[in-house]
């Protein structure tokens, strides 16, 4: 029996209906439902979240400390705080919390999104000043200020740099098509072409100057190194391109392959159209950033470092269990022969004793197995007896499985990370910590070594300066190899060392007729300029008084315009080998230069060396000497600065104005009782007054620079400093072709140089840079 509850059962008049009409039921309550849904959808609360909490959940200073709120409400609470203008004061998590591996990794992944990190990034970030350059985070210079030590490493020991930021581009296709493709973007005058017999068999690495399509000598892009890889099926070309040029090269190559738009089709003869179509069909281009690690070892001891750390596999039985071996043809490994060759050249004193630019591909053991327990310097103990080993270049030497895309992923997956390695060595071995050289847990790794000959001409630089090896390592193994090289005594360097080595070798580092060079120059000049204007006026060098108009930049366009009387926006640097050697001969014999086309927009690269003492610096001015200057070196006469008076007056007026503004502010403050916010923002643009003053210090609109000082300006030095390898002031710079012509017509082959901060001219010898 149901308990009696309702009216009728208790004797009332109301009867319960036997069924419920849902529609009727709902309509009776429609008003309530509408009110409820509206209040859910559009809550008209004026209260904040923490105020809406039931009483038993409320805590003291809840609005102030978000941690006292229930976790699910915290986010909304913080949002509300932000809206109301109060910055949410959140305590920085403790260091202990932040340093937990998973939190650290999260933070690293967040930071990686902005710039590409190299595999050795964290190692470098602990020891180097890092800078953002070309979309990468690159080590600039070591924190221990080891400038001279790094030079010594390049000349006598071993310097190692991570240059994995060079982007590999693989071009696969028939040889004649690739040749066709590169004929329009490079010139045969600059050196050997891409399909030269010396390189096509893949034994050596080559260099090529890239230009925009059919625009030689203008439109220079940059220098790229290339390797031909011959596998059984097809030939492929691997370019390694500097990250500042990769975007240009990428668009250039894809433009070459693109089939032309239909409107243009009519004008192009059918034969050419066919070629273009064939190009697109037959050639594949792949840009593979981060596919390889590339380390550069410079210095005579780099060979000893490599021989100590890389131990070749001798027989196939040792590595048969490796997973990546099963995907490739085992006969193409040539393990025994390569081991034999590596043994033969083991005792070479310096890489420059080996054939220039050869590729040596090896299959090596995991380098962790050969690592010393303490940092030791790798040295050679005996010397090579047989010269024949140094001349021979066996054909199997360059064949490597590393270029095969398939094995990359396998190598990466099968890799034992450092923690796993340590665990493996300490936990599973019979004697903990004992290393077994033929450990099956560690896979073998294919690597490719590329020799760099360094200086090959004793008249220019001591033979072998700057020689070394480049090593290409599959991705994932970068840090493992890096650690081993460091443990064998290699000193690490950064981007500064790259610049410095180029200067010591007398090479053009990012030449100013390329886009990358212009950007580099702009970066440096703005930095110098900012630094200059941060100094107080009394400490600023007045460049007008020294008759220097552009102390921070090299105005190539204006220089060329002055020497040719023709305006042109473009210029180029001479890279024609034959012409450069003719110019060098002319300079030695003081003959007249040959006539060339477009000499009006041509710069000649030169290496400058001081005759006597004197230290030259960046942006130094190269001037045309007079006849009598050889007896007594000239000084720049004192020069008046016309703007000095104007500056003084302007400053006075500005100070007065500031004073009156200050007074006005004070008055209004007294009246209103409110503080007037001062408009001082450090990061914002300089004020109008500042801009005007800067213009008066250093006028930016320059029309001519040739006759800016008492001697005619011929050119500028891009890089200049005291050279350790020459033990005197040296520099790399460019001269206007017409200026050089004028110099030689005067029967002189020396020039005057002047620092931008100095009044003294000094005499210097010049040589043409032939191998750029």
């Amino acid at each position: 029996m149901e308990p009696a509850e309702f009216d009728a059962t208790l004797g009332g008049k109301e009867h319960l209906p036997y069924s419920v009409n849902s529609l009727k039921f709902a309509t009776a309550r429609s008003v309530e439902i509408a009110a409820m849904t509206e209040s859910i959808l559009y809550p008209s609360k004026t209260k904040l979240i923490f105020q809406c909490l039931p009483v038993h959940m409320r805590r003291r200073v809840m609005s102030h400390n978000a941690k006292r709120l229930p976790r699910k409400l915290r986010e909304g609470h913080l949002e509300q705080l932000k809206k109301s203008g109060l910055p949410p004061k959140q305590k920085r998590p403790t260091r202990r919390y932040r340093r937990r591996p998973e939190n650290m990794l999260l933070e690293y992944n967040r930071r990686k999104q902005r710039n590409v990190w190299l595999e050795t990034h964290i190692w470098h970030a602990k020891r180097f000043h890092m800078i953002e350059r070309w979309g990468h985070r690159i080590a600039y210079a070591p924190c221990d200020k080891a400038f001279r030590a790094c030079y010594r490493a390049t000349s006598a020991h071993c310097l190692i740099q991570d240059i994995s930021y060079y982007t590999p581009v693989s071009i696969t296709g028939p040889e004649n098509y690739i040749k066709e493709m590169f004929s329009s973007i490079s010139s045969c005058c600059c050196g050997l072409s891409i399909c030269a017999k010396a390189y096509i068999d893949g034994k050596r690495e080559g260099f090529i100057h890239l230009y925009n399509k059919n625009s030689y000598p203008l439109g220079y892009i940059g220098k790229a190194s290339f390797i031909w890889v011959n596998s059984k099926m097809e030939k492929s070309l691997w370019l390694f391109i500097h990250p500042s040029q990769i975007k240009q090269v990428e668009s250039l190559l894809s433009d070459l392959l693109d089939t032309i738009s239909p409107s243009e089709c009519f004008e192009i003869p059918a034969k050419k159209k066919k070629i273009i179509n064939k190009l697109a069909e037959n050639i594949q281009i792949k840009v593979l950033p981060g596919a390889y690690n590339r380390f550069r070892l410079i210095g005579p001891k780099s060979h000893a470092v490599l021989t100590k750390s890389l131990k070749c596999i001798e027989t196939i039985d040792q590595i048969n269990h490796n997973k990546w071996i099963s995907t490739i043809d085992k006969r193409s490994l040539y393990l025994k022969e390569k081991h034999c060759y590596w043994q033969n050249i083991n005792n070479v004193m310096s890489p420059s004793q080996l054939p220039p630019r050869i590729l040596v591909s090896l299959i090596v053991r995991d380098p962790r197995l050969s690592r010393p327990s303490k940092r030791t310097k790798a040295v050679n103990t005996s010397s090579v007896e047989n010269v024949q080993h140094l001349i021979d270049l066996p054909p199997f030497l360059s064949i490597s499985p590393i270029w095969d895309n398939k094995i990359h992923q396998i190598l990466k997956n099968e890799r034992l990370s450092n923690t796993e390695f340590i665990k493996h060595v300490t936990k599973t071995r019979l004697i903990p910590g004992e290393l077994n050289i033929n450990d099956p847990a560690l896979q073998s790794i294919p690597v490719v070594l590329i020799q760099r000959p360094g200086s090959q001409n004793s008249n220019k630089k001591k033979i072998g300066y700057g020689c070394g090896w480049d090593i290409i390592v599959p991705s994932g193994y970068g840090l493992i190899f890096w650690h081993t090289f460091i443990m064998f005594g290699a000193r690490s360097g950064g981007l500064r060392e790259t610049e410095n080595l180029a200067f010591e070798m007398g090479e053009c580092y990012l030449p100013p007729d390329s886009k990358s060079g212009i950007e580099e120059e702009k970066l440096k000049s703005t930095e110098l300029r900012e630094r200059y204007f941060r100094l107080p006026p009394s400490k600023r060098i007045n460049y007008r008084k020294l008759a220097v108009i552009t102390p921070f930049t090299c105005p190539w366009n204006i220089l060329l315009k002055d020497w040719s009387n023709k305006t042109s926006n473009e210029f180029f640097i001479l890279r024609d080998r034959k012409l450069l050697s003719v110019i060098q001969d002319c300079m030695q014999e003081k003959k007249q230069l040959p006539e060339i086309d477009s000499s009006d927009i041509c710069l000649v690269p030169i290496y400058l060396k001081m005759v006597k003492k004197g230290n030259i610096k960046q942006n130094a001015i190269i001037c045309l000497p007079h006849e009598k200057d050889f007896l007594t070196l000239p000084n720049e006469p004192y020069c008046e600065d016309p703007n000095e008076k104007i500056r003084k007056e302007k400053r006075k007026a500005h100070l007065c104005e500031l004073k009156s503004v200050k007074r006005r502010n004070k008055k209004s403050k007294v009246k209103n009782g409110t503080k007037v916010l001062s408009i001082k923002n450090k990061n914002s643009e300089p004020s109008e007054y500042m801009k005007q003053m800067r213009e008066l210090w250093l006028p930016t609109n320059i029309e001519t620079c040739r006759n800016s000082c008492s001697r005619e300006v011929m050119g500028f030095l891009c890089q200049a400093a005291f050279s350790f390898s020459e033990s005197c002031g040296c520099g790399v710079g460019y001269l206007a072709y017409n200026a050089l012509d004028t110099l030689l017509k005067k029967n002189i082959n020396q020039v005057l140089v002047r620092n931008v901060s100095s009044r003294y001219y000094r005499l210097a010898n010049i040589n043409v840079i032939k191998d750029q």
């Binding site: 220039p356 010397s383 090959q456 001409n457």
Partner: protein
């Protein structure tokens, strides 16, 4: 003064013209060297003679029992000169032992045209190896 500067260069030029073929440039490699060490000095023509002499004297006076000088090609004369100078400076307290030899030098031939491959050639150059050793140590009369 200016003639002085250009003269040695001209001589180099005539040397350069001896290259085997017009299609190649000759690039030099570093010669094979004997084992390096603290007491081994390679004599060059570029380094200041006085500085090299001082370095040798320093090594000998600081207790090195023997020093070895290596000279190659044009530096042979200088090497001998240096050894003789040391002998006179250390009058009677050191002796020299001279060996001569031949060193194989490798030159690389870099092609200038597309249809040629790299080549190499072997030259020979004479060398001198001088061992200077103390016969009596000054100030150490046991």
């Amino acid at each position: 003064m200016m003639a002085d500067v250009s003269n040695p260069r001209k001589r180099e030029d005539t040397k350069k013209n001896k290259r085997p073929n017009k299609n190649y440039t000759v690039k030099k490699r570093l010669p094979l060297r004997p084992i390096e060490g603290d007491n081994v000095i390679f004599i060059t023509k570029k380094t200041n003679f006085k500085a090299q002499l001082e370095k040798c004297c320093d090594l000998l006076t600081k207790g090195e029992k023997e020093i070895i000088l290596h000279g190659l090609g044009a530096a042979i004369q200088r090497c001998c000169n240096l050894a003789l100078q040391i002998e006179t400076l250390f009058s009677g307290t050191c002796q020299t032992e001279v060996n001569t030899g031949t060193v194989d030098l490798v030159d690389d031939l870099e092609p200038l045209t597309d249809d040629l491959d790299f080549g190499s050639q072997v030259r020979h150059s004479s060398s001198v190896h001088i061992r200077i050793f103390r016969t009596a140590m000054l100030g150490s009369n046991q």
